[in-house]
């Protein structure tokens, strides 16, 4: 199999195929950076054109777009606190405070280097370990996925913010949104009010854009006078090559977040945003100064960006070997393969090694290119956006968001829905309700609920099935460890101080 890997290289290095990756990365960074536009959309637009293209040209562009967009999403997350993609929500936690402190340029550089590292690790894993990791994917049935979702919820504690009650209300709102739509297990329609458009549930982009992009855009219009432009407008960029050696101290975070990103990638049905949340939380837990997190800790940006890019190529492992469209992007990419008669599945690697392994190389190149294209070119040019007059910037964002949301399903209904979420987001912002728990509630709530019920249904209603498999037992042990360890250490500390007092 590794022979095939080398054999696939010459075709990838041809001018046309390399150009496709370069164009893909640039396009990806742009759509990722524009709030409302996503990689899924860009690749969907590409699908009709891929008919006439050589498969590797089409796939190279897709690989480039996917990688580019995962980084691109961090640009508005850092500069404006508007995550360009769902996976960039966690990037904004520390990225935006950094921008406010006048370190936005450095935050973007950390983001691009971390993205590239996550992408490179992920591509290498895809190239070298896809078949064995596909076996790991198969260990995760509904029961095991349920426990992963529960594990993810341990992250919510930090994301709740200062006011626990408000945080919980936000999380509950997210879970509520996840309930909307036809229940896949019983077919019952929940909170659809007879609207066909709601039967498939609410697309996360609609919610995200409404909550995250509209309120700040309105804010830009409200305060015509400059607010903190003197800080955010100044990026203080030094050359990325000079900044890089200083970043080496994040190596532990890079390693940890890459592993988390790859792991979430191979889980059927998870996604980049879950990877980013989990790895942000783990990095914070491992940090020596967790109280600095959320106030502009570069390591937070590194954690989030490494893992959302580490998720990209890894998500293709279940997609290519098992045909699971784990994420919306992977689903569209599978369509791109199918158009060229490439059926995903174990036979794909045997029947079409040239294209499959070529595609993997392209992922690697796309990740490496991120440093050059993202770091050297895009970061600086996108930062200029901040020099635009604020009302103009707000208006542009609102226009983009309308286009983006409309194009998801080609209907106005979603735009109205987004406006509704925008209104909710606006008041949440003013009343100081935290937004991240909403996103986490939507992603993990739906994930946990559906898989718990599938597991119980398979077990015929017997709850013991939840702890039946070895994988489930390991996951339960991990959750107990994570939840109980802080309690235990606090108890130990309390005892020590009371002894000292005595």
């Amino acid at each position: 199999m590794y022979g095939n890997l080398i054999d696939a290289l010459p075709a990838v290095l041809s001018l046309g195929n390399l150009a496709a990756v370069v164009i893909g990365v640039i396009a990806g960074i742009c759509v990722g950076a524009l709030p409302g536009l996503s990689a899924t959309m860009a690749i969907s637009v590409l699908i009709p054109f891929t008919f006439g293209m050589d498969p590797l040209v089409a796939l190279g562009m897709m690989a480039g777009i996917y990688n580019g967009a995962m980084y691109g999403g961090s640009i508005p997350a850092v500069l404006l606190r508007i995550p360009g993609t769902p996976a960039a929500v966690a990037t904004s936690f520390d990225g935006y405070p950094m921008a406010q402190q006048g370190r936005g340029g450095y935050a973007l550089q950390v983001a691009v280097v971390s993205s590239a590292i996550g992408g490179i690790v992920s591509a290498l894993v895809l190239m070298l370990l896809a078949p064995p990791l596909a076996k790991v994917t198969l260990l995760f049935g509904p029961t095991e996925i349920f426990w992963v979702a529960v594990f993810g919820m341990s992250a919510i504690v930090f994301l709740l913010g200062g006011d626990v009650l408000k945080g919980l209300i936000s999380a509950a709102f997210g879970v509520f949104v996840s309930l909307v739509g036809a229940d896949t297990i019983t077919g019952a329609e929940r909170y659809t009010f007879g609207h066909l458009e709601l039967l498939d549930g609410i697309n996360i982009v609609v919610l995200l854009v409404g909550l995250y992009a509209l309120p700040p855009a309105i804010g830009l219009l409200e305060e015509v006078r400059d607010f903190d432009t003197q800080n955010t407008g100044r990026l203080n960029t030094t050359s990325i090559w000079k900044a890089m050696p200083g970043m080496l101290r994040y190596w532990k975070t890079w390693v940890r977040s890459s592993v988390i990103g790859v792991f979430v990638g191979i889980l059927p049905g998870a996604g980049g945003s879950m990877a980013a949340f989990l790895s942000y939380n783990e990095a914070r837990r491992a940090s020596r100064n967790p109280e600095e997190w959320g106030k502009g800790e570069p390591e937070g940006v590194a954690a989030s960006e490494t893992s959302n890019n580490a998720d990209t190529a890894a998500a293709l492992i279940p997609a290519l070997t098992l045909g699971i469209p784990g994420t919306a992007v992977a689903a569209v990419m599978l369509g791109g393969l199918l158009i060229h008669g490439l059926q995903p599945g174990p036979m794909l690697f045997r029947d079409n090694p040239g294209i499959v392994f070529g595609f993997m190389w392209q992922f690697l190149f796309a990740a490496v290119l991120l440093i050059f294209l993202g770091g050297a070119l895009a970061t600086n040019s996108f930062a200029q956006v901040l020099r635009l007059p604020r009302p103009l910037l707000g208006a542009i964002i609102i226009a983009l968001v309308f286009i983006g949301v409309y194009s998801i399903n080609g209907r106005l209904f979603d735009v109205y829905l987004m406006l509704g979420f925008g209104l909710i987001g606006y008041f949440m912002d003013k009343l100081k309700f935290p937004l991240p728990p909403v996103v986490l509630g939507l992603i993990l709530g739906g994930f946990a609920e559906q898989n718990l019920r599938l597991a119980l249904r398979i077990g015929g209603g017997d709850w013991s099935i939840l702890a039946a498999s070895p994988t489930a037992k390991i996951l339960i042990a991990m959750i107990l460890l994570v939840v109980l360890a802080p309690l235990f250490s606090r108890w130990l500390r309390a005892r020590k101080t009371s002894r000292a007092a005595a």
Binding site: G187, E197, L338, P346, G410
Partner: protein, 332 residues
């Protein structure tokens, strides 16, 4: 237009002139649209797909659209428009209510499109369409993992009868061909299964591969490429599939179950006759197109062209099957 209105208000002679001009323009429009029938198509034909870009039906529509363009003449252009939502229902509804001028067609999935007219409120029924042609047929299968103790359909049924309702059967969703296959199997063998509706066919297949469920019912195309991991026990069709010539049908094993997915093209009811004939002829010509056959085969789809009334009859039968199953085993 505003200027014309002003003219009407100001001078009566000018008004008559303007009115005459409008009337003439209308006539000219009508006249120009008459020969347009002969010149059909003189603008892009839109094919509404009720699923996202990149999905199986979307790819099918694009591939077939490419060949359809060639059959309709060099100027013809077929454009896919994705209108995903409600399991395809939004797209079906849009086609049913579109203008019947031949420029809006839609992909049509049986039996799913018909099941929706029973298990929920739908703005269309089996009579809302002009049936152009079915294009592919993908029979369902009963399938187990390679390590499964079941080697024939009888093994499976014996196990199910020993403990009714204990065998878990993975499906892609409720109210589709997978679900109906399982219901028909239970009825034909007089036993019960524990039906597990997953979120899509690939998730159901993955659960089967991982051994989290005992059995799966999925379209034959979903099993292709998994020869080393899955064992297909039966094809639910009246004859063996060229894609799996070694797999016996359920009928051969003594159970008369037939179920599968059909994907074709429909138009809103009331197409002008010339256009209907033209489109049906174009689809009929695709039946002998080996390039299309090969291209679809590479995607695991068997070409099965049934034009016009044959297709309508198929839809009626599928509709009745869905209705009967819904009445006997309402799933929600």
């Amino acid at each position: 237009m505003l200027k014309t209105l002003d003219a009407v208000r100001d001078v009566s002679t000018q008004a008559t002139r303007a009115l005459a001009a409008i009337a003439l323009a209308t006539l000219a429009l009508a006249a120009s649209s008459l020969p347009a029938f002969a010149a059909f198509p003189d603008k892009p034909i839109e094919v509404v797909v009720g699923y996202s870009a990149g999905g199986g039906t979307d790819v099918l529509a694009r591939v077939v659209g490419k060949y359809l363009e060639r059959e309709l003449g060099e100027d013809a252009s077929v454009v896919v428009k994705n209108q995903p939502g409600a399991g395809g229902q939004i797209g079906f509804t849009r086609v049913a209510t579109a203008k019947a001028d031949g420029y809006t067609l839609g992909t049509f999935n049986l039996p799913a499109a018909m099941a929706m007219t029973y298990d929920r409120k739908a703005a269309y029924d089996v009579d809302s369409f002009d049936y152009l042609a079915n294009v592919v047929h993908d029979p369902n299968t009963l399938v187990v993992g390679k390590q499964s103790p079941y080697h024939t359909l009888d093994d499976l049924i014996e196990a199910a009868r020993a403990q009714p309702g204990s065998l878990s059967v993975a499906l892609s969703a409720l109210g589709g061909n997978d679900h109906f296959s399982a219901l028909l199997l239970a009825a034909a063998t007089d036993t019960q299964f524990n039906l597990i509706p997953f979120n899509g066919a690939s998730m159901a297949r993955t659960a089967l591969l991982g051994g989290h469920v005992a059995v799966g019912t999925m379209a034959l195309s979903q099993t292709i490429g998994f020869d080393d991991e899955l064992r297909v026990l039966a094809v639910l069709d009246d004859k063996r599939s060229p894609f799996a010539p070694d797999v016996p049908t359920a009928k051969e094993q003594g159970y008369a179950i037939e179920m599968g997915s059909y994907r074709g093209f429909v138009a809103p009811k009331g197409l002008p006759d010339e256009i209907k004939t033209r489109l049906r002829a174009a689809f009929a010509a695709l039946a002998d197109n080996t390039a299309l056959r090969d291209e679809l085969a590479a995607q695991g789809n068997a070409l099965d062209i049934r034009v016009g009334d044959d297709y309508r009859a198929l839809a009626k039968v599928q509709s009745e099957t869905a209705k009967a199953l819904w009445q006997q085993h309402p799933w929600k």
